[in-house]
Each structure stands twice: as C-alpha cells, then as structure tokens.
C-alpha cells in the first residue's frame, strides 16, 4: 500500500518557491512557506543562491482514486478539503499527520514513514 518515496526536499526563500517553475506532471507539496517536498523528475530552477536541495526519503505515500479518497477523507478530516485542482493540503487525517496532493486524476496520500503502518490500518 503506502510505499517509501524518493523525492527532493527544497528549503529556499518563500518568494523563490512562489516563482519556481516545477517540472511537468510533478507533485508539489508546499510543506511551509520556505519548504517544499517535490515528487517528480526534471530540473528545478530556483532564484535563491542559498537554497538547500536534498534527497528526501522520509515519507511514504500512495495514489488513490479520487472518489474513494474523498469519501474516506470526508469522514476522517475535521477540516475543509481544498476545492480547486491541483491542490496541496496537510493536517490531521484519522488522527495522524497526513499530506495530500489533489489533481484531476488522483489523490496522493503521504505521511512520515514512521506513521505509515498506523495510517494503513486507518485507511479503507
């Protein structure tokens, strides 16, 4: 189910991240103003000479079919899910810290690998 992910962790100033052009088809998890987790192949151009870009292997995730995912999320989230697509959201899902990527074709569900087994138990 949830698989260990290999992505890029990018710490940079917020304006540079706002202006960045991300590779086509990539999933962009804007974890904080100055913090991105990027899943996808291709070059990233950032206007920040002090940016830190590292391989990040601490998350696990899986892709879900949108209708099934929304059903599950609506019953396990106490907060409002984003309406637009694509979108990123993060918060408590079934009591665990979860990060979500929404687009037209999927909902990608991700969490810290240490919580992955527990999250699986709480998934449909």
């Amino acid at each position: 189910m949830l698989e260990r992910l290999e992505g890029l962790r990018i710490i940079a100033n917020a304006q540079a991240l706002d202006a960045a052009v991300w590779p086509n088809g990539s999933r962009v998890f804007r974890l904080a103003a100055d913090d991105v987790f990027l899943l996808g192949d291709g070059e990233v151009h950032l206007d920040d000479p002090h940016a830190i870009v590292e391989l990040e292997t601490g998350f696990s995730g899986m892709s879900m079919e949108p209708a099934a995912a929304l059903d599950w999320l609506e019953s396990t989230c106490e907060w409002e899910l984003p309406g637009q697509r694509p979108a990123f959201a993060q918060g408590a899902v079934a009591g665990l810290a979860v990060k979500l990527w929404f687009d037209e074709t999927e909902v990608f569900v991700m969490t810290a690998s240490a919580l992955a087994a527990e999250l699986e138990e709480r998934m449909p």
Partner: protein, 77 residues
C-alpha cells in the same frame, strides 16, 4: 466543538493538530537576577483574559505561530 486555530500556511485547523507553546513574561518590577530566574522558571500571570501565545502546527507545516486567545472563553482573536 473543538477549538480551532488558523495557521497562516495551512488554514483553519482543530486544536489537536497543534502543540502549545507557553510564553513566560517576567514583569519589570521583578528585580535581581535570582528573582527573575525564579519567576521565569515557575511564576505565571495565568491571566483570565486575552493572552498572547504560541502554537506549533505539529501535524501540518511544523512551524510556530503567534495567536491571541481569551482564556475565559477560548475565543481566538
């Protein structure tokens, strides 16, 4: 209904996503290093009213934010 706190990055979220961060304030009229250390370590205004405090968005962006809360009602201002 659980208390809700607005994270500027992640949005409106239930209290359970956050950790509490106390902000000890030593009043100016506490004088002397020992007295100020003692006050900072232990004494609290414990205000019945509006306080300024910090919350850590542990289940979201993992950043600290500032908030004002009325401790009598738990209303976030």
């Amino acid at each position: 209904m659980s208390l809700r706190i607005t994270c500027p990055h992640c949005g409106v979220r239930p209290l359970e996503e956050y950790l509490y961060g106390e902000v000890p304030v030593v009043p100016d009229d506490v004088v002397g290093d020992d007295a100020r250390d003692l006050d900072r370590a232990f004494m609290r205004a414990n205000t019945e009213g509006v306080i300024r405090e910090r919350w850590f968005h542990a289940m979201g962006c993992r950043r600290w934010l500032w908030a004002d809360r009325d401790t009598r009602t738990d209303e976030m201002l």
